[in-house]
């Protein structure tokens, strides 16, 4: 049973991944549509980042995580190196939790 779940999920997920990649070749898209695809990807990634920053299992994730992400955002805005952005976000959330912030 478990193997069926894993393989079905894996096949379906690979199907989504490869369908997008291969479809791009087949579609003869006009220039404006071609330029719109990265815009769509950026919107999806922003939505992923925002939901991951604020929510956990459909509910508010607590303050420590969005506070950490905010520090990361400010660091990125100030053109800090990527490592500092990631470490700053994680460090802020970790310290806040250590202080008892959920």
């Amino acid at each position: 049973m478990l193997i069926v779940v894993i393989l079905t999920l894996a096949a379906g997920t690979y199907g989504f991944r490869v369908a997008g990649v291969l479809l791009r070749d087949r579609l003869d898209l006009p220039e404006w549509a071609r330029l719109l695809l990265p815009v769509g990807a950026a919107a999806l990634l922003a939505a992923l980042a925002a939901t991951a920053a604020f929510t956990e299992a459909g509910r508010f994730a607590g303050w420590a995580r969005p506070a950490g992400v905010l520090v990361g955002l400010l660091l990125a805005w100030r053109r800090a190196p990527f490592l500092l952005v990631v470490a700053g976000a994680a460090g802020t959330a970790a310290v806040l939790r250590l202080l008892g912030v959920p």
């Binding site: 989504f16 925002a50 990361g72």
Partner: protein, 248 residues
């Protein structure tokens, strides 16, 4: 030119390694959680290798442990539907050959997409995709193995704040593309819509709602006569450099 290329490549490598380290830790937590849920070791390692989708893996382990295998499949597929538009956007960044595309498709994740689109189109994008795709795949699977072996000794990634690291990393990679007005509007609108919809819709759907903005632009353009390319033609997202946020 070569030096410039090499420096850019080294920067992508450094940035991928930073996120890869966090991914090892989260992979370890997946391994440990799955062992604790009573999933056999072979199944845990197979999942990370052939499914390779963190969110869906955590969700599947929870639902399988709760005795709902069908729900695990449906919820996981809904969660991963976003990879289709990612594949469309990456297009030929995976390589010229069919085998590049077939193999590369398996390495397609949110983070790999963000690293790739943050590079200028062409060879730099292809290099970034394969670098991020390969290293993050290895990181996730190595992490899973560590978690399976260490079990309960693996700490909670939330204690290290790693749950804040991933959204921050995605934002840093997206920030340069926000200079383009259409991309900025689509990203901010999509993010707001997804957060608002999250308590109301099953996981996966809220994020897909973010496509409503770009879809509306597409419909508007389709209805305008050809040749009427207006000044609001969107520029490609992420023409900037990896890991260096630019002011919006």
């Amino acid at each position: 030119m070569r030096t410039v290329q090499r420096t850019a490549g080294a920067r992508v490598l450094r940035d991928v390694l930073a996120l890869g380290a966090a991914m090892v830790a989260v992979g370890a937590s997946f391994g440990a959680v799955a062992v604790a849920a009573g999933i056999p070791v072979w199944a845990i390692l197979t999942m990370s290798a052939v499914l390779y989708a963190g969110g869906a893996q955590f969700m599947a382990v929870g639902l399988v442990a709760a005795g709902s295998p069908l729900a695990a499949v449906l919820a996981g597929l809904l969660l991963n539907a976003r990879h289709l538009p990612f594949g469309l956007a990456l297009g030929d960044s995976l390589g010229p050959r069919l085998r590049h595309r077939l193999l590369g498709s398996h390495l397609l994740t949110d983070e790999a997409t963000a690293f790739t689109l943050a590079q200028p189109e062409g060879a730099a994008r292809r290099r970034a995709f394969w670098l991020a795709g390969t290293l993050l795949f290895l990181a996730w699977n190595a992490g899973t193995l560590v978690g399976v072996l260490a079990g309960g000794a693996v700490g909670d990634p939330a204690a290290l704040g790693l749950d804040a690291a991933f959204p921050a990393g995605l934002i840093a990679l997206l920030l340069p593309s926000m200079r383009d007005r259409d991309t900025r509007h689509a990203a901010l609108g999509g993010a707001a819509l997804a957060v608002i919809a999250t308590p109301l819709l099953p996981a996966g759907l809220p994020v897909l709602l973010a496509l409503a903005g770009p879809a509306a632009i597409a419909l508007r353009r389709r209805s305008t006569p050809p040749g009427g390319a207006g000044p609001d033609l969107p520029a490609p997202a992420g023409a900037g450099r990896t890991g260096e946020g630019a002011a919006c």
